[in-house]
Amino acid sequence: MVENIITVKNLNAWFGMHQVLRNVDFEVSRNQILGIIGPANSGKTTFLRVLNRLNRLQRGYHDEGEVTFSGVDINTISDSQLRKRIGIIFALPQVLPVSIYDNVAYGVKIHGMNKKSEVDKIVENSLKRAALWNEVKDRLGLQAMRLSGGQQQRLCIARTLAVEPEVILYDEPCSGLDPISTAKIEEAMWELKKDYTQILVTNNTKQAARVTERCAFFLMGEMVEVNVTPYLFTAPADKRTDDYISGRFG
């Protein structure tokens, strides 16, 4: 049995009075690419953001339940440490309006690394791992907002990698990208698999089938089922999963 890096037990979450997650139980093993599919408002993004506590930035949000990360209750880990160790890629490429270099170096400097040569090395490595280095190596000083959408999203991946996380969360990372940019990001994800645990929330069931090893189906705040990806897509246990992946709704 592979070690579980994240274990979620009986998780419930609310925005105000509205319950968005109901009794979710979930396990993620190390170095796995895990997919979460489901229609809009099924709670998949909220679930993702529970893991690095980003939901708490919203007014009126609260959750209950037990989430352990590397065997430790996440409530005992500081926000800063938790978010350094569990990085996130947002749906739209959220680059900061500074240079490519400064985008990647931002997190590194935040965590106290100020030696220029070291930062340079981390920036280069991160951009390489995000499969962006060859496209930008001659123009690291370029305003990052002038990159294409796909490049910006890979820059965001590089920026997350630069702070050396253990887990990377992807919140519909390709929803605004063309198929070629999407393919590049999926390639990067496969490359990253040997060092990172990755959780991919996606609206695109085909992408989930292509990229993920295990996949979960969320519906109206409930996790309907989770299984090894080929099984989930060929022999779903629940009728609702079957309906969703075969396109009868959603």
């Binding site: 690095n52 980003l54 930035l57 007014r59 926000d79 800063s80 440490q81 938790l82 978010r83 350094k84 160790r85 990085g87 996130i88 947002f90 739209l92 959220q94 900061l96 309006p97 931002y106 997190g107 935040i110 965590h111 305003q143 907002m145 920026r159 997350t160 702070v163």
Partner: protein
């Protein structure tokens, strides 16, 4: 169809003319002042003290006094105003307490300046025993400027997209690091524009300095922050209304210098904004 186009043209023309009307007063004011002061303005007028019951000589002490007051106001009002806006926008939750604070700020900006003057006189001059001094005047002007500075800073901070904060926090930055590196740099142009405008307004105020600092006639320069000073707006008021047989040119020349000073401050804020503005690309 054709009629609709014509009516639209007519509407736009009327709107254009009305907008033009807005700039007429400012041009008239400037034209009138320049026309009446042109013979009086000279290097001597700017660099010398008034003589012969202020009917001759220059306004140098008043210029220096106004500059001291602007600097003093900035020293007190900027840190206080900017930091409270940062607290309100970035840290404070939405509860009864912060709502009362926000309401207070809005109401503070509606208080007439003469009331600030009386308040400053009672609190700083009498109660805190600062006397009529640069210190008391600057503090009074600072309190008057606070609501504008806080509101401008708040708006500048709120204009920075929430996603910048989210990105920074998601990389493990602390709240303060996020504010310091991911919010404030992008809010600086807006903050500066607002604060400089509020300072230029403070520079032109008469009522708040009336009882707290302004000297009617004091041809020497102040020696400490506990000294009184002459100030341009009050000097203008007194020579125009309190001194008989005053040459009109001197009043207009004083007005000219005051307007030029305010204009220079505004110009500085425009330059700063355009220099930072190039960085704004989102």
């Amino acid at each position: 169809m054709h009629r609709a186009v014509n009516r639209e043209k007519l509407a736009f023309t009327i709107l254009g003319i009305i907008t033009l009307l807005v700039i007429i007063p400012i041009f008239l004011v400037i034209f009138y002042i320049v026309k009446n002061s042109i013979g009086v303005i000279s290097w001597e007028f700017i660099s010398q003290a008034p003589r012969h019951g202020m009917r001759e000589g220059g306004i140098f002490p008043a210029i220096v006094g106004t500059i001291y007051l602007i600097v003093g106001t900035a020293l007190f009002a900027l840190p206080l105003g900017i930091l409270s806006a940062v607290y309100l926008v970035e840290y404070a939750g939405d509860n009864a307490f912060t709502r009362i604070i926000k309401l207070a700020i809005v109401n503070l900006s509606g208080i007439p300046s003469i009331v600030y003057g009386l308040f400053g006189f009672a609190l700083f001059v009498i109660f805190l025993k600062l006397g009529t001094s640069i210190l008391a005047g600057s503090l009074t002007l600072a309190i008057m400027s606070l609501p504008v500075i806080i509101t401008a800073t708040k708006e500048a901070l709120e204009a920075v997209p929430f996603s910048f904060r989210e990105v920074s926090l998601s990389l493990g930055a602390s709240k303060w690091q996020t504010v310091r590196y991911c919010v404030l740099p992008y809010a600086v142009p807006g903050i500066l524009t607002g604060t400089v405008l509020s300072l230029s307004r403070a520079a032109g105020e008469t009522a708040p300095i009336l009882f707290t600092v302004a000297a009617f006639y004091l041809p020497r320069l102040p020696r400490s922050v506990f000294d009184q000073v002459m100030a341009l707006p009050y000097h203008l008021y007194s020579i125009t209304t309190q001194v008989p047989n005053m040459p009109l040119g001197l009043s207009f020349a004083t007005a000219f210098v005051l307007i030029a000073l305010v204009f220079l401050l505004n110009l500085a804020s425009i330059i700063i904004r355009s220099r930072f503005g190039k960085r704004k690309v989102w």
